[in-house]
């Protein structure tokens, strides 16, 4: 079971309360987790990853286990703690600066 924490605006958009908990078949990667997330909540398509290319949107970040995984290849395995459901994958809106 994978745990995902979404930012406020995406929780509101998808009408999610608290964490999302998902089961992922096969390797637990950014791509497989986000595929599963978007399959359950289609309204999130295009909000985390761009349509078509499925690239991470520029001001979205992926954190887990106190690491920034945003620049990791999308098919690399996520940390074991995320795959085991011990730690959540955090989808974060990047700081705006200012």
């Amino acid at each position: 079971m994978i745990r995902i924490v979404l930012p406020h605006h995406l929780r509101t958009l998808a009408r999610i309360v608290g964490e999302v908990q998902l089961d992922v078949d096969g390797p637990v990667t950014q791509r497989s987790v986000l595929d599963a997330l978007e399959a359950r909540h289609p309204v999130l398509r295009g909000t985390i990853r761009e349509h078509g290319t499925l690239r991470r949107r520029p001001f979205v970040r992926f954190f887990a286990c106190e690491r920034d995984l945003s620049h990791e290849p999308p098919d690399d395995p996520l940390p074991d703690e995320v795959a085991a459901g011990v730690e959540p994958l955090l989808v974060v809106g990047a700081m705006a600066g200012g």
């Binding site: 605006h9 349509h51 809106g93």
Partner: protein
């Protein structure tokens, strides 16, 4: 008794303002989509409960929301705006070719006859259409592919398609306007397009006085009874066309400044036009801190100042291109929103004004529905 619904898009959400036909007491609902930029909301002319909203965010991109109950509840519909085929290039700021990149939807224009058909104006400039109530969007790519598309170049505000006017007498004739590109017309429902910018002069932005495209058109407006007559607020200059855009002439006349963004036409008087003059392209606020609407009852050239009820001093807000609208009650109501978060209404065609709300986020768009 008739009612009025005012749909307000702001930098931080949407608001729905409703009143009876007297337009004195208002209910305010919102923010809907709090924290998101709402560039535009608009209701279907044939089903007033059907409302579409453009919701966007620098973080999370573009969404389109649809309401079937006049803005009380919403559902997200398709948000995939893919340029048709090989998108090609336009010019970048440095003059080099640059791929078309979708950024946001600036304007939604529901069909005059079908609540499931809506046109959407995008940045980078393109026109999309849904015919299934927003479940899918498809580009009318003939606009970008007409000869000049590869020469369009964004201005500082982005290359947005911000105005869509459908001819009530011929739904195949549509006028659109694009920032820093100009105005275009189709006669075949969007398959082919023609630039219609003859007569526009932009000597500080375009050195070529005969430039076919590149004009920074801020907004165009028409009266439903005379779709061949168009009014335009250009970057500088207020313009008029009496031949469906084939030629334009300046009607700025005695305006104190002819820079501005918003322009609209009285619901019952096709020669009565409203603008909100803004000091200059360098100073986006009213002259001398006095917020003023100007009205011409002669189709331009001669303008009268309308300031009763508007701020007399220390007002340094802007009124953006989509932030003015009119109702169709017997005494025509005029509405506009400011970047200071006020929405002003006049129930007497502009003679006097009062704020409906004062402290919203910066207002981007105002649309009015007159309800039976």
């Amino acid at each position: 008794m008739s009612r009025v619904r005012v749909l307000v898009g702001t930098r931080k959400g949407a608001f729905v303002l409703t009143s009876d036909g007297k337009r004195q007491k208002w209910d305010v609902s919102g923010p809907h989509f709090g924290g998101w930029e709402i560039y535009h909301l608009k209701g279907s002319p044939v089903d007033s409960d059907r409302v579409y909203a453009s919701q966007s965010s620098g973080w999370f991109g573009q969404l389109i929301q649809r309401s079937n109950d006049g803005g009380k509840t919403w559902e997200a519909v398709d948000n995939k705006f893919a340029y048709d085929g090989d998108a090609g290039t336009h010019l970048w700021y440095d003059g080099t070719p640059h791929p078309w990149e979708f950024k946001r939807i600036w304007h939604l224009e529901p069909s005059l006859t079908d609540p499931d058909t809506v046109y959407a104006g995008a940045e980078d400039a393109a026109l999309f259409r849904t015919t299934d109530g927003g479940k899918s969007w498809h580009e009318l790519a003939g606009l970008r592919r007409q000869g000049s598309g590869k020469f369009w170049q964004p201005g500082a505000g982005g290359m947005g398609l911000h105005t869509i006017l459908i001819d009530p007498s011929d739904p195949n004739r549509i006028f659109i306007a694009i920032s820093a590109a100009g105005t275009f017309r189709t006669e075949d429902g969007g398959q082919t397009w023609k630039p219609i910018n003859r007569g526009l002069v932009s000597k500080y932005e375009l050195p070529d006085p005969n430039a076919e495209v590149g004009h920074c058109v801020h907004r165009i407006a028409m009266h439903a009874s005379r779709p061949g007559v168009l009014f335009m607020q250009k970057h500088w200059d207020v313009m008029r066309s009496d031949d469906a855009g084939d030629s334009w002439r300046e009607i700025s006349g005695d305006l104190p400044t002819d820079f501005g963004f918003a322009i609209d036409v009285h619901a019952h008087e096709p020669e009565t036009v409203y603008v909100v003059p803004i000091k200059s392209d360098s100073e986006h606020y009213p002259i001398d801190g006095k917020l003023r609407v100007y009205r011409s009852r002669s189709g331009g050239d001669e303008w009268e100042t309308l300031g009763k009820g508007l701020p007399e001093r220390d007002c340094y807000v802007n009124v953006l291109r989509d932030a003015m609208s009119v109702d169709s009650l017997d005494s025509c109501g005029i509405y506009f929103g400011t970047t200071g978060g006020q929405v002003y209404a006049s129930t007497d065609a502009g003679d006097s004004w009062a704020p409906i709300v004062r402290d919203l986020p910066a207002v981007v768009s105002v649309e009015v529905q007159t309800l039976a």
